[in-house]
Amino acid sequence: MISEKKISYISLIGIFFIAIFSEYFDEPYLITLLSRIIIFSIAAIGLNLVLGFGNLVSFGHAAFFGLGGYVSGILAIHAFNSELLISWPFLFSGSNNSIIIWLFTILFCSLLALLVGAFSLRTSGVYFIMITLAFAQMLYYFAISWPSYGGEDGFSIYVRSTLFGINTMKGLNFFFICFFWLLIILFITGKVVNSPFGLALRATRLNLTRVKSVGINPFRIQLMAFVLSGAITGIAGSLYVDLNRFVSPSLLSWQMSGEFIVFILIGGLGRIYGPLIGAAFFVAFEQFFGSYTEHWQIFLGIIIISTVLFAKGGIIGFILEYKKNE
């Protein structure tokens, strides 16, 4: 009998050991791919918190991913060039310290999520989908037409940020940082989802009237979840920029938001480890079909359509179902 928990632990341990072996067999590219999988899954775990557990279909999570990326990139490039970022109320010329970068990312992304959430959560259903999309597009067009930080072309940050003197330019070390973040985020979401707060959030998905009648304000619950979700996705954006050492408006594009939803769907909606499986499948799929044809997205499209129409529970749901029938 295989349980959801087992699948999750196997995939975590699997990714960890593949990274160690890749280092041993000198395959740096594979390690980068694994880091990418982890970063994408962190972003999608953030989204899954509101989408999977609160049934709030945010189609604008690229905004947080991108903002996290831009905040980190801007802090890093100013530190690299020793340029002043602000001169009032104190002199500050960015930072190359990961801890500081992450703190700023969490701060800014939470604030953005608070703002976006406060407006968007007034609406529901399709209006919610569209207004979150509109906020992300707003940031996207702003990034494209704002020339100070590269505009449409984006900018490079040359070196990764530093953490406790670890050599982050070494692929495996950076992988460990991402992996560590993944463990923290998984731990936090696991705790949150099963806390009274998480139960209230899941209840808003099922029956809003009943939630209200037992004296819980659904707006506050949803807004808090949205802020946490935005901060988590922001951290992913920060790590992604550090991984590629490159910031571009494509981080904010609506295709990015769409892909996050796809990760969740492929893995299995409303499952804590779903996004990890989904992102791993997506990146592996891209690599595999991408090596045969540059038109691999045709097959991706077909796979997504068939998953939605015929296999609703995603990969985890499919395995659990299969084992049950055996």
Binding site: R122, T123, S145, W296, L309
Partner: protein
């Protein structure tokens, strides 16, 4: 800055608005009647533009390529509706978003496969080349006027169709109560296919008309799709009148905003700053407009109050 320039920009905005109406009319009807969020509407726009460009390359006729644009888009639309979209009517919004997102990936890549990654171009016919004097001393592009004219004709046609014909009654009834009208003997699945086909044809036509001004390339549909969504949200989902007013509003606000804001800012800062800040704000303007309207009226200008 002269009055002529301002009038020209205003007309450009109006022209853009009419094209947006062709996109958003189909989108809002499809949502209103079938409850379907169709992200792939932009792909139908792209398919229309590419069919026009391919026809133009073969026959060198603008009018023939216009004909090809909406008929090809309608055919593709009907095939997609009959094979895939039909299964989504009773699913939740998330499934609809995902499947139609996947359709975008599919069609964009397929078109890139067939036509390559380089943009194609369509020529304005001899008849519509150059500009014409509309007021004393004010000249405007004949082709853009033609687009406004086409948009106006289609708007009138749609209002007539929805308001006065039997089909329109069925469509409006479908928005109110789907089950009841199928119980009354209307073949609802035929109505859905027809409506989806009409929406696709309008999107395809818009693709060809805009493709002639800009270029025909993969990914051309998505920016305009998102604008169309902004419009149907502002106008109120399902309302053709709302879509019409919001289209013109968005077209004019977007065009004039990009043009006027940098110019206004020039009075307070230096020109290069004014240019960069102004264009950044100008491009965000319609999203700000949408946020404000949704805060004041969460279901849009003409949307029905949802329970």
């Amino acid at each position: 800055m002269t009055a002529e320039l301002l009038i020209e920009q205003f007309l450009n905005g109006l022209q853009f608005g009419f094209m947006l109406f062709l996109m958003s009319a189909g989108l809002t009807l499809i949502f209103g009647v079938m409850g379907l969020i169709n992200l792939a509407h932009g792909s139908l726009y792209m398919i229309g533009a590419f069919s026009a460009a391919a026809t133009f390359a073969f026959f060198n006729s603008f009018w023939l390529s216009l004909l090809a644009s909406f008929s090809c888009a309608a055919i593709v639309g009907i095939i997609v509706e009959k094979t895939i979209i039909r299964k989504l009517y009773n699913r939740d919004h998330l499934d609809q978003v995902l499947v139609t997102f996947a359709l975008i990936l599919f069609f964009s890549e397929l078109v890139r496969w067939i036509f390559g990654a380089f943009p194609l171009y369509l020529d304005v016919p001899e008849l519509l080349n150059g500009s014409i004097e509309i007021f004393s001393g004010i000249y405007y592009s004949k082709y853009r006027l033609f687009i406004i004219f086409v948009g106006l004709i289609i708007a009138i046609f749609l209002f007539f169709l929805i308001g006065k014909t039997n089909l329109g009654i069925q469509i409006r009834a479908g928005q109110h109560d789907r089950e009841m009208i199928s119980a009354l003997g209307v073949d609802i699945s035929k109505l859905y296919t027809l409506l989806f086909g009409v929406g696709a044809a309008l999107a395809g036509l818009a693709g060809a008309l805009i493709g002639t001004i800009q270029s025909v390339e993969v990914g051309m549909g998505e920016p305009i799709l998102i604008l169309a969504f902004v419009i149907i949200v502002i106008g109120g989902i399902g309302s053709i009148k709302g879509a019409f007013i919001a289209s013109l509003l968005v077209g004019v606000v977007d065009t004039l905003g990009r043009f006027l804001i940098p110019w206004v800012l020039q009075t307070v800062t230096n020109p290069s700053d004014a240019m960069s800040i102004g264009s950044a704000i100008g491009s965000m303007l319609i999203y700000i407009l949408m946020a404000i309207i949704l805060i004041l009226k969460p279901t849009g200008l003409y949307g029905k109050q949802l329970s």
